[in-house]
Symmetry: C3
Subunit: 348 residues, 3 copies
């Protein structure tokens, strides 16, 4: 998602830093603006039209750079934060998407700071929407109750993280591990890892993460994802489990993307099953949900695209999940949420 | 006001985007820092000295870019937010001045996001101060009661907007229309348009906008502005009306600007008339205000200028308008507000 | 600390600004990401591990530029704000480190906006840690009670400031003076100056600043600092006094830095003495503290370094100062605070 467009070589002469050894260093300013007209209908909460950001790609602004240290070593940084062009705001955490500094070498990468954790990264990579729109499986895994009421702050990204990434060139094997301290508060202390194998057309990866909470139970996420490209069709599958004490949420998704000329079709079916909670809370046995979604992306260039997405979540029992991740007070348990988004993405 | 200084060509080779068709694409980082020493006297609230930003141009930071899509089409984005160099803060909406993405072609421009709306844009363009300083007519139209207590959020800019701009080359005719949804809250739903004619030395434009509120009354703004350049003197005139139910505010302004060598003189007289409100609230018949202002801008370069502005608002009845747009609790109805600003603007 | 790495010449042709006179103009984007694994033990409040920013250099993002106005004059701006890459946040004042616009000439520099004030700048320059880490003397002078409860907002930086800097080429003499208005609130109105003499290996500077408060007593800071380079060893000494009515805090520090190949060793001893306060508050006679610290910086390049710092503050009487500037509620008066930091700094 880090489509670089404005890539600025470090002008070493001007900066007085000289030396040919740093000729490969660079700093890149990049971003995305994505806006769409949409209509969402959440059961008896009714229908609402709006202009929203981020259906194809989350709108963002970022800076990243890499410095050649010589001897096969590099230092790198990455700052990236969400922007909301519909109303000009940013998120309360300015560089909420990523803020890291890295050392890289033949031995891999040591990365410090805020970033996706291994167990969350292994979800959006294995669905055709890559984590956005009314169609994404994250409408299940990142619903308002993403961490099952555990108070874990690690549903998607983790602060204060020390992460290690395997180097490239291990015959298709890739992986990462992450540890983060509590810094004196519950919900922060994270330990997780991800291991995968990529053989060109076939890619499979599994991940596990655990977060300390204020109780004796840890919040746990584990999953396995795979993708397979057959001709022009790429199939993606994901099985993800969230656990907190007796509470369980199991999500299964199967999607496909098909490039056609300047465009790409996408479609997915997904199911969400919950168990272990008190009846009526939405977390008991039978509080299940199903997602059906499809989309089309039309590329005007490598940087700019038009798109349309449709999604529909039907809920059983006391489940109340929605296609926009909201939790509308007026929507009744078991009702259906659906919507469409028509928009434009521009990357720079 | 978007004086570009640092304009960076997209280095397509580095970014791996290649192709001559994108050679005209660019991303520009721009900004303004404007600080002035000032003294404002608001009737019996007394006099205060300060260092403030934005008398000649609002201090800001921005990024904008345009991509040539081929076939006469372009995609563009614009992010621009106010900064306050006097104390280092930014506004609560980071990109509060503009956050838009556009598609442009021979048919005009489709622009999505947050921006000035047609009815507000037609005010500051037709006064010599272009919306800033102790002299601006916006001290009337954007006073603390800009939308007459209607709760409309569209006094100056509008969120979630879908706007269309006429193309150039229509024989001097220009125009724009905007629609914005309520997104479930009162004060947001806007509909407006602006139509003008520019014949070189003569420019005239009228605009109308209406905003849904929590009551059955809409907040309405309409206005007509004109400018005429005679030799070195440019005259500007504006008539603006705000309406909300029985409440009315009518603003008339007549200004002039005269370039002289590296400098420019500016002067304006304006009158504000209110009607329809309860006696004592500042909105009844006779709660009128008059503004007298003048200024001088001395350009040190195309990017840097020194300036001085003076302004004076005299109030009748229960009116309490001030030259800095504040609403000092200690200032009595009918008192006079006046002040001066001596400062520097630097654009990059 | 403003190590420029990405320095972008103003592309005058693209920006349509042309002219050889502006050929020396430039805008520079710069920043620092500094993260460290650390452990701090604050007496009976116990020990905590964490990942924190800014032990070698405060993490930051900035923009600065200078424009040649011709005739020996220049205009310049500087925007710089802290970032916290450990969790992606920024500070509540976005450009909290500096936001200024300047006019420069043979007569010196006139600088408007938010910046260090003369009396605070004269502290961190005369210690080997330059104001950061568990080792810095700012753990005394910027402790939670930096301005002795006076409500002064000028402990480190000052808003709305008008500052004047002496020009270079005065035979080693340098200096600055600053004035800032109250803008109607106590704790803001500042007046201060700094005067120094630099004779190559020897540098000495004294400063004085006073801030109006809500009481009849001003908050006062004065200090004298000196450095002397003998062979490869640089010695730095500082004596700083804070006063507010009867309350006094006197800080003495003596440090050294020794470059060795690609690295640099640093060490310091410092003492903090307080007097004049009520017994038990930490500000009475005998509520003294001592700091012992050392560090090593290993430069991987001119932009990237690894580092390790250790610091220890022992407190007498009711003093409760800590190596991380925090004020842990559970730490008892007179206890010891100590910690280490192992990290990486990357500048761009």
């Amino acid at each position: 998602m880090k489509k670089s467009v404005l890539s600025l070589a470090v002008l070493t002469a001007l900066a007085g830093l000289a030396s040919g050894a740093q000729a490969q260093s660079s700093v890149t300013l990049f971003g995305v603006l994505d806006l769409n007209a949409n209509q969402i209908k959440n059961g008896s909460a009714g229908s609402m039209k709006g202009l929203s950001q981020g259906a194809l790609n989350t709108s963002r602004l970022g800076l990243r750079g890499i410095e050649d240290l010589g001897g096969g070593m590099s230092a790198a940084f990455h700052l990236e934060g969400q922007i909301n062009p519909d109303n000009g705001t940013v998120t309360s955490v300015f560089w909420n998407r990523r803020s890291t500094v890295s050392l890289l070498g033949g031995w891999g990468e040591l990365r410090l700071g805020r970033d996706y954790n291994p167990s969350s990264r292994n979800t959006y990579l294995f669905e055709p929407y890559i984590g956005t729109s009314v169609g994404t499986v994250l409408n299940f895994t990142l619903a308002p109750t993403a961490t099952l009421g555990s108070g874990a702050t690690t549903a998607l990204r983790t602060n204060n993280a020390v992460a290690y990434f395997l180097p490239k060139g291990l015959g298709g094997i890739y992986g990462e591990a992450m540890v983060a301290p509590s810094e004196g508060a519950p919900g922060n202390k994270y330990l997780g890892a991800r291991l995968g194998y990529n053989a060109g057309a076939f890619d499979i990866s599994a991940a596990y993460g655990t977060t300390k909470t204020a109780t004796t139970n840890d919040f746990k996420q584990w999953n396995i994802g795979a993708s397979y490209t057959l001709g022009s069709v790429t199939l993606k599958g994901l099985y993800n489990v969230h656990e907190y004490g007796a509470l369980k949420q199991k999500t299964t998704a199967l999607g496909a993307s098909v490039p056609m000329g300047a465009g790409e079709f996408r479609a997915m079916v997904a199911a969400n099953k919950r168990d272990g909670g008190t009846a009526g809370t939405g977390f008991a046995n039978g509080d299940d949900s199903r997602l059906l979604s499809a989309g089309y992306v039309h590329n005007l260039s490598k940087r700019t695209a038009l798109y349309g997405f449709v999604g529909r979540i039907s809920n059983d029992g006391s489940a109340r999940l929605t296609v926009d991740g909201s939790s509308p007070a007026a929507m009744l348990a078991g009702e259906t949420s659906s919507g469409y988004q028509l928009g434009i993405t521009h990357r720079f």
